[in-house]
Symmetry: C3
Amino acid sequence: MGCVTDFFTYETTKSVVVKSWTIGVINRAVQLLIITYFVCWVFLHEKAYQIRDSSIESSVMTKVKGIGRYSKQIMDVADYVIPPQGSSVFVILTKLITTPKQVLNHCPETDDKYKCSNDSYCTRNNPTSNGFLTGRCVRSYCQIQGWCPTENDTVRMPIVMEAENFTIFVKNSVRFPIFDFERGNLPGSLNCRYDPHKSPFCPIFRLGDIVRLAGQNFTNLAEKGGVLSIKIGWLCDLDQSWDLCVPRYSFTRLDGVSEKNNVSPGYNFRFARYYMNPDGSEFRTLIKAFGIRIDVLVYGNAGKFNIIPTLINTVAAFTSVGVGTVLCDIILLNFLKGADQYKAKKFEEISDASTSFGSHMFKSDQTLAGRGDEKRSTDSGAFSIGL
Amino acid sequence: MGCVTDFFTYETTKSVVVKSWTIGVINRAVQLLIITYFVCWVFLHEKAYQIRDSSIESSVMTKVKGIGRYSKQIMDVADYVIPPQGSSVFVILTKLITTPKQVLNHCPETDDKYKCSNDSYCTRNNPTSNGFLTGRCVRSYCQIQGWCPTENDTVRMPIVMEAENFTIFVKNSVRFPIFDFERGNLPGSLNCRYDPHKSPFCPIFRLGDIVRLAGQNFTNLAEKGGVLSIKIGWLCDLDQSWDLCVPRYSFTRLDGVSEKNNVSPGYNFRFARYYMNPDGSEFRTLIKAFGIRIDVLVYGNAGKFNIIPTLINTVAAFTSVGVGTVLCDIILLNFLKGADQYKAKKFEEISDASTSFGSHMFKSDQTLAGRGDEKRSTDSGAFSIGL
Amino acid sequence: MGCVTDFFTYETTKSVVVKSWTIGVINRAVQLLIITYFVCWVFLHEKAYQIRDSSIESSVMTKVKGIGRYSKQIMDVADYVIPPQGSSVFVILTKLITTPKQVLNHCPETDDKYKCSNDSYCTRNNPTSNGFLTGRCVRSYCQIQGWCPTENDTVRMPIVMEAENFTIFVKNSVRFPIFDFERGNLPGSLNCRYDPHKSPFCPIFRLGDIVRLAGQNFTNLAEKGGVLSIKIGWLCDLDQSWDLCVPRYSFTRLDGVSEKNNVSPGYNFRFARYYMNPDGSEFRTLIKAFGIRIDVLVYGNAGKFNIIPTLINTVAAFTSVGVGTVLCDIILLNFLKGADQYKAKKFEEISDASTSFGSHMFKSDQTLAGRGDEKRSTDSGAFSIGL
């Protein structure tokens, strides 16, 4: 029985209440500060009362529209978008260096690195960027075996000027699995053109605008090639109304560094189209393509009220208010007028068990204890931190 | 010496033990609640004793199998899978609108937007979706310069019915770098077909099943095109046996919104195959392809026992039990019978240093202090929260 | 007025100071331990004084260089890299099984599964891997309708030996949006070759080296195909100098499991090149390609000093030092010589309000209280934990 009664007891700390304006004000000020921090930052700003879902599920479809002219030819989407399947990463070709009718054969190199006066300059089987040296020197250039004629990518070519007016339609739908919340980026009508101010939710972007909003110059970019990103941000507070969960579009140049860097500026790649002669021999058109690559990046998270984080953080807030005492104690016990006497009250000394009883007798007298504390505290300041 | 002895002292709070059933029971109840929370939620559910590795490294390879019939032609994998290289995102073509033998030339538009009665209707160089207006009106349609004949994508085409039986083999291996733990999704044998109940670990999926499990209708999806995801989840507790770390497959429609939305439903794209006449002139076959895009998404994390988080959380648990006092103090000092007398015990008053000594003399008498407390507490309830 | 003065009071816990070497040393030791943990782990190792940005924005461009020989043909980049557009995931073809001049027609299967002695063996319209059975048995094989001749992928083919010397140039630029910090991986000059020791920052990798550093054998890999990763890690401390934020390259085989697993080893896929006869009939070259897929994976985060986390963690550190008391109390009140007398000092009993006043009178005598505590504590050990 005794055991049970003993178990069901409540133990709370014995406190000293200091009626001092100075420390009182400091104390409350610190507490106010802590409460403000929790209310404003933790709860209002960080939304600590919500559970967040950052595992956003997203699907992106893109569709480019527009017609371009290039060297007397007409280019449509099927010609200038690579890859064609409307994925989230694609390239819009803006400049082409074409080498038609290449066949596997022997021909002289075009690169001046392979200028030669006789065969000895051309070590057989050495690889060049176009093929393998045959060991022969033809028309003062080493001969190679490979795709002939070799590409000459030093020619200056124009860019597809119309590309600036091409439009990119981005269809994006996102899902937050935890809340099973689904949302798309399509507005009621698609008769619009994205504009950061006038129509910030229109998912149809003019390439020229994207380039401008990314702080780039279209002609330079189209000339050298580069990588831009369309970022779609979904930051949704599901405690608020459904239609406040809207996408935020932003645009940056991703390969910004390569732009400044002269070692290897821009973005280009080579691909080929293969043909076959009636006789069954294969030939190809090699294309060195410069273009603007667009990466559509989707990020975001959603939050919704939940009781568990709310409780935990509320408790944390309450208990944290107590933290103020650490600071106040330091002030109270060291810098305040009459600190010694506060110590006398706060600290009740009790020395080692061996001599406990005796000391106990005396130390039970507060005033003495106080004196003892004074002395002590003067020797070791660390102690008065109250830890 | 004194300094040293003073340093090696131990300071603990002086406590008041309340032998009251009411508060005792409340106190223990609250403590029990907190302990339960830590044991059940933090430790058992959240596995706070483990370190987690969420930086999952994954590689996905896919292989589609199946033969389809389309407009008297036979389509195999090389024909209907784009891109071909077995990546984690690919499209299975289910409907094709083909425009063969396109050459760069002049021809009338097919779009009724460009109906005309005379040349004045057709402003020269205006871009259409197929080319640039030449300024001439031919057979009551504006003439364009571009790929001719222009595509007519209003024709109704069938779908590849066999696609429902195509199978998708997904090879996935994951790695958790922190634990250097590697795992694959291949079972002992591949003579199987995925079934959520009968064979949940078989990595060979029938397209029709995926569509069904994603809650879609195959014919609609194949008709309009859409995006499905095969999600592979790896949630591994490495404290348990190796073969309990298994993949969980789930299926959703990613562009679910576009489905409901009439503005731009489904998924389709255009690509072309280029050919060359013996005379060197190029022509192409333009294909508007509708298809089912499959995104294979891999997520997961692994946890393993580690001493640091275990210690931290154990300490947190222990100390948190003390939090209960905040609540109990409020009850004890305000709502409990004899609250005043509890205050008397708990709070020991000490007023401003200026008058300290005198006040000290009197306040040292508990009972008086008690009275002081009573009065005080009645004025400001906030105070009795014990903060 | 009284209310105000009462509000501006400061309340601190009344403490018992134990002057005992044993407990004193333990106390300080525990505190030292906690401080060390915070200083060394939380602050120095975990950099708790920084805010971290893990939402790294990255763009990757790749360019493969090298010339290969394959069955008397020369292959250049346009021939052996798929997809061509220099994305972060690409395949270098190392082995090809080519089936040229396929036309849609009727022909016998090559697979022994379809050996037959008469038509009854070949159920009409059954799909094979190459087409649909026509129901006829021709030359002791079931006849199919499909792309003819059917592929025979059992032939042994050589690999592109030169592939080992192909070089992969990786251009990567990253951005940490929160700090708006941008960085690229290009060194001053590109006349280099990556070497883990000699030139660890050179972004030009020899395929053979990557394979070796991933602990693989080139010939096996090229023969069967596989997936390697080039991981680029950016772990930047922005409090330090700009040029200490450098990429770390590492290499692993991603499909490591499939290697051990015999069910489906390696990596291969099929694609086709389409041609057209002058008469307008289409034919194709089917290619079963084995290759080494390279995934360039970028990860990383950046940290920078920020006052908020610094404050929070400093406070946490300070308060945590108090946690030591939990442990020390247990020792002090249970295992230490004179524990009872410590309890006497620490605990001041107060029984239920009903009998409060009386008990109050007596219990106010410390020694009695002590006795009461002794008795109590002996019954229930749990209690002496001081919670």
